[in-house]
Symmetry: D2
Subunit: 146 residues, 4 copies
């Protein structure tokens, strides 16, 4: 979009495209130059944000379980996972040069968190395991494409 | 949910309720004890995540504008705003004791970012201003209720 | 420092002054314009970083205690506190416009974490309580000055 | 340290050992079980924190340079680098299972930031390049050891 032109506002929520690309980006930044299909990009950011929420919720919920000791590793991995997911979401939204490597690490940490959460029958763990697996899958694809 | 009971998985995406409350929480934690309507809670987390994405995207896009110097304060506020939005989203997802104060600060920083972004005609700034205002409104409500 | 001039490298570790001020800053940014004594600035960043390390260490150590359930609130506050301390350190290093409000919140969260940690006799809790109190004190001063 | 025993407070500043290890940790967590020399551990956390401060300071200082456009990539990499450095410092302080992979990524991002900052003669860039290289070196060692 050229400066000074009237602003064309997208429908509520914006579109995935305008939120991750703008006119001048593609020439200077490797990531955007590679014609990343923008739907994948938005999908991965959303998967990371959902996963971070589920991990934070799971960590807090584990701390309220009667047998907290059994949940200690789950809490620890939830904290690791929410941190890398938030970092990855922010890096993708900025079109960072390091998205490939960041998403590869995010996928790895999500997988380990999914495995631990998957062992516990509590709903917060099962939901977290599901969101971690979904995020790992999106991040693997992002890492392969980027 | 009691441990050992069969896991009842929600429909894809989960429901707002189970993602922010679980059986044992309400008795021990002030925040949840106050019967926060869970829709508001989820809405505020989502507003924070959307705002963080828009701020990160805006910061990166400002850095690609022809007249970057004019955008310097916008970039600086985008960075501040995305940081507090991610912190607030994580704190709410954990049901932190400090949500009231965190969301009050988040609203304040979102407002200042919205004001700066609102001055620039570029689409990334206009979208960011809109998401900052929406997030500020959600955070003010959260801060008043919590 | 003027661009194009030969770089004068400070002694190892840099000096507090050059790390938080540079020639062009003072004219445009309120925070630096107020002639913040730079030692206080550096001291507060270091207090925040030390506090974040102690909180993260305390959280992980609490999860390894035999009676984890007793430590649940401590873990939760450690996570809150490390997050706001890292955000505050980063904001001060950028000379953010919002340092005053950020440091006020950081002081408040540090105090609540110090109170909880102070109840427990374990060394990681006692060290964390001490670092939280020190950080709260620095942040209160910063908030009053900024 | 056993619960209930009198608290032995270390000298001001604590010692590196007690801040990263405690009695019960070594049995359950791979990272600590491997007898990481604690000086290296503390040194890497401090290198990450220093690097994050320098990157945040450099980003803000670049935005105040007369020719901001020339500094755009520097700002972008500073933001990436400060984010992964803070994440790595927190993960090490918690004795995360994922330190090896996190520090490998941190080293990679620090290197790229050092290269970009090294091109610019401004003091904030030169100091940032130096701290990025020092952090990359510590993180490589940590990644090899962990």
């Amino acid at each position: 979009m050229e400066k000074g032109q009237p602003v064309r506002l997208h429908r509520k929520g914006g579109c995935g495209n305008c939120r991750i690309r703008s006119a001048g980006m593609s020439r200077r930044y490797i990531f955007w130059r590679n014609s990343m299909p923008h739907q994948k990009f938005t999908a991965c950011i959303e998967a990371c944000n959902s996963c971070a929420v589920s991990c934070n919720h799971c960590a807090a919920s584990c701390l309220r379980e009667p047998d907290v000791a059994m949940m200690a590793r789950c809490v620890a991995l939830d904290i690791d996972c929410s941190a890398i997911c938030q970092l990855a979401a922010a890096a993708m939204a900025r079109g960072s040069e390091h998205i490939k490597a960041i998403c590869a690490l995010c996928a790895e940490i999500c997988e380990s968190c999914a495995k631990e959460c998957g062992k516990h029958p509590m709903e917060h763990c099962q939901l977290c395991a599901r969101d971690c697996r979904a995020c790992a899958e999106q991040c693997r694809q992002m890492s392969a494409m980027a």
